[in-house]
């Protein structure tokens, strides 16, 4: 079995869980029943011990893959010297009406193998390793009812019309397929007995068709008609896949411990929901016309933040609870020996002041899209504003979450300013009554003065990451993206030039900052998309914005997916994969580009906000 690299993976999912499928036909990552559950397959993090489910030709092959148009259903074609097979992979998803009518497994992966040319011997290897390869299980052959992976209170049911048998702790078999012949596979999860066991034919094919139709109708609601439609729709499909449907939360990525540096220790668990991502994600979803998902996300934010009000944590699980404490799994060797493998994320204990502004800003976008709040939510938002007024000068861990050190970050203060601006806009629009307006206005103005005086470096002619220093950071582009500075202002243009000079990894890629680049990190995908977004908003010529954006698109893998980072030397993805935030950046940059191309003002948000501020000032 060939060892896949990050770029060799594609994702399938059902808005509750996700699997990574390699171009070699192997499902190497799957956590059930939800994104942050323990793994059933983790060959991604340990090819020997982690467990996998592979289906591929027994002889040497070349593979090519794609998503079926406008879906999250994956099709991989394997070509050998004797013939060709196609494998279609899906985690089925169904409409409400179908859920009502059909007896559906709780969770399922279906795989359909069809021989389209010649003859191919197909090899199947099913090696479940539940509980991050630590949980004991029993394999049982129940004949026509399939194979049972008995884990006590839960079980996995593995069924196929291929000839398979148990070999120690795995299930394996080979079968020769001729043109037109097919094999069907289903793996389902059951915590409720009796488990549904629909007959494989036509269930597998029907599930794939049903899922494809569901994804197609969902993406059909996207309003974007620009020139980068394929990339934007792929990103939207990914965001939807990473949404936990029962709560509306969106996980940052479906994986843990894919390294930011090969062989290094910067391996984190991203299967949680970061408040930071909220406002940009809400902007992307509302911008694409997916108001339902955006509203669900804001609903989750509001519900979640109530639990710790008025203090906010950095990240939460899909139901708004604190994840279990971070721990290391020493028995897994890590992706390409990048140890340690961690589950849980200690960043939940950090102080990050930007999250207050993010939550408020997402709520403002919800209101701009026609939403409304109840009085309790308005009171919560007001409390967040008061918290900002008390704490905006405090040092924090900042957007990039370095562990240990707390500093006064310009980006965090910017988001405190954004939060107060947002609250004033909400008041102006009648959604926030009985708020301490004078306090909000005075603090907002004080934050602006502080940033303009102390976060601006005359010698560099640039804003800086930490006040009174010369440190640059790509997150300073947010000054324009959030409307603190006009994109075309001399200060912003000059800041962009300095960032490009000093943090540019090549013509298109940007490091976060020099402190982290020096450690050998990759360049951050979101930073490049911020740069494209900034240029599209008026920071530079349209052609420059488009060139940067299209160069970035060229760095996606063959099915259009990005990780968190990109190695500037090899162009290979690094870090957890696929990363929702990078795709959020892609969508927002594409929306801005399209608006610029159409001659639409791309500063609508700022305009309305300024009007609001003027009204209040008046």
């Amino acid at each position: 079995m060939q060892e896949a690299s990050i770029r060799d993976y594609a994702i399938i999912g059902d808005c509750r869980s996700a699997a990574l499928v390699s171009r070699f036909g192997s499902i190497d990552w799957l956590c059930w029943p939800r994104f942050d559950s323990s793994s059933l397959f983790a060959a991604l993090l340990d090819p020997i011990r982690g467990g996998r489910w592979s289906i591929a030709p027994a002889e040497p092959f070349r593979s090519q893959r794609r998503y079926l148009p406008n879906t999250n259903v994956l099709e991989t074609a394997f070509e050998t010297d004797t013939g060709t097979i196609r494998i279609v992979d899906a985690i089925p998803i169904a409409s409400e009406e179908q859920t009502f009518r059909l007896l559906l497994p709780e969770h399922e992966v279906v795989r359909l193998v069809v021989c389209t040319r010649g003859e191919v011997e197909v090899e199947t290897h099913f090696a479940p390793r539940p509980g991050y390869a630590m949980k004991r299980f029993a394999l049982r052959d129940r004949g026509k009812l399939g194979f049972w992976v008995d884990m006590g209170s839960k079980c996995i049911i593995f069924r196929s019309d291929a000839a398979l048998s148990i070999h120690a702790d795995s299930i394996a078999g080979r079968q020769r397929l001729r043109g037109g012949e097919a094999l069907r596979f289903s793996m389902s999860f059951s915590s409720d007995a009796p488990a549904p066991l629909p007959p494989l034919d036509p269930w597998v094919r029907d599930s794939i068709e049903r899922s494809g139709a569901w994804w197609e109708q969902w993406i059909g609601r996207a309003k974007y008609e620009g020139r980068h439609r394929d990339a934007v729709l792929r990103s939207a499909l990914l965001l939807k896949l990473l949404t936990y449907a029962p709560s509306g939360a969106i996980v940052a990525a479906p994986t843990t411990s894919l390294p930011e540096r090969l062989g290094g220790p910067l391996n984190w668990d991203y299967r949680y929901c970061w408040l930071r991502d909220a406002s940009f994600t809400a902007r992307a979803l509302f911008g694409l016309g997916h108001a339902e998902e955006a509203s669900a996300l804001v609903g989750w934010l509001i519900h979640t933040t109530r639990l710790t009000r008025p203090e906010l944590r950095t990240l939460y699980d899909v139901f708004g609870n604190s994840p279990k404490p971070e721990r290391v799994l020493p028995h897994l060797r890590g992706y390409r020996d990048s140890r340690p493998v961690r589950v849980g994320n200690a960043a939940q204990c950090q102080i990050q002041l930007d999250v207050y502004g993010e939550v408020i800003e997402a709520s403002v976008r919800f209101i701009r899209a026609g939403g409304s709040f109840d009085s309790e939510t308005a009171a919560l938002l007001k409390d967040l504003g008061v918290y900002i007024c008390k704490h905006w000068k405090d040092p924090d861990n900042g957007i990039w979450e370095p562990r240990g050190i707390r500093l006064p970050h310009t980006h965090s203060r910017l988001l405190c300013w954004v939060g107060l601006e947002g609250l004033l806009e909400l008041h102006w629009k009648g959604h926030l009554r009985r708020a301490p307006l004078e306090l909000f206005k005075q603090t907002r103005d004080a934050i602006r003065r502080e940033i303009e005086l102390h976060s601006w470096n005359d010698r560099l002619q640039s804003y800086v990451r930490i006040p009174e220093t010369e440190e640059l950071d790509s997150s300073l582009l947010a000054l324009a993206l959030y409307g603190f500075e006009a994109p075309s202002s001399p200060r912003m243009r000059s800041t962009f030039d300095r960032i490009r000079e000093r943090l540019g990894a090549d013509d298109w890629l940007f490091y976060r900052n020099r402190a982290l680049a020096a450690e050998g990190d990759g360049a951050f995908g979101i930073c490049s998309f911020w740069a494209a977004h900034y240029l599209a908003q008026g920071g530079g010529p349209l052609s420059e914005a488009r060139d940067l954006f299209e160069a970035m698109l060229g760095l996606a893998n063959d099915v259009g997916l990005f990780a968190e980072e990109i190695d500037p030397r090899s162009g290979c993805p690094l870090g957890n994969f696929p990363q929702g935030f990078t795709h959020v950046g892609l969508i927002n940059a594409a929306l801005s580009l399209h608006e610029r191309e159409q001659g639409v003002s791309v500063t609508d948000d700022r305009a309305s906000r300024s009007d609001a501020a003027l009204e209040i000032r008046g």
């Binding site: 009502f100 006590g152 079980c155 007995a193 549904p196």
Partner: protein, 158 residues
């Protein structure tokens, strides 16, 4: 026979039985979900099936209490241990006789011998319902013994 006592303690006993079975599932002793198993006789929708199943189970449990009450009257006395004994026999019947014939009763349940078909797609329970987890018989016996004990302990003959 005291109808009020039968209805009241039959209902209370069934509530406790249902809670013990659900608790056993939550604690990981079994995958068996009795409301889901019963409800899927009438609908394929998972959520709706569980609601229907809870209602069915409460009604059936109360009806079964009639047999317990009849036994108490035949004995001329109730009492918790008499109830528990009947509960033990009841659970043995459910496990040894009731579960294996489920595929013949349940319109959506597959047979061990024929595999799933288009209309029969649910996993059969197997002997002693062991397919739903090796500790399933333990939780079924415990739940029925407690059911019987509650009924026997509180039922009034007159």
């Amino acid at each position: 026979m005291s109808v009020a006592s039968w209805l009241l303690w039959g209902f209370v006993g069934t509530v406790i039985l249902t809670t013990i079975m659900a608790g056993s599932q939550t604690l990981g002793l079994t995958r068996m979900n009795i409301p889901y198993l019963l409800g899927t006789m009438f609908t394929a929708n998972r959520d709706r099936a569980k609601v229907i199943g809870v209602g069915m189970h409460l009604v059936l449990g109360s009806l079964f209490a009639l047999l317990y009450a009849a036994a108490f009257h035949a004995w001329g006395a109730a009492g918790w241990w008499r109830g528990a004994l009947i509960g033990l026999v009841h659970s043995a019947f459910v496990l040894v006789v009731g579960m294996p014939i489920m595929p013949g009763i349940h319109p959506r349940m597959a047979s061990e011998y024929q595999g799933p078909t288009a209309t029969r797609q649910l996993e059969p329970p197997g002997p002693l319902a062991l397919h739903y987890g090796v500790q399933t018989p333990v939780s079924v016996v415990l739940a029925h013994v407690v059911y019987g004990a509650v009924l026997g302990g509180f039922y009034r003959l007159a």
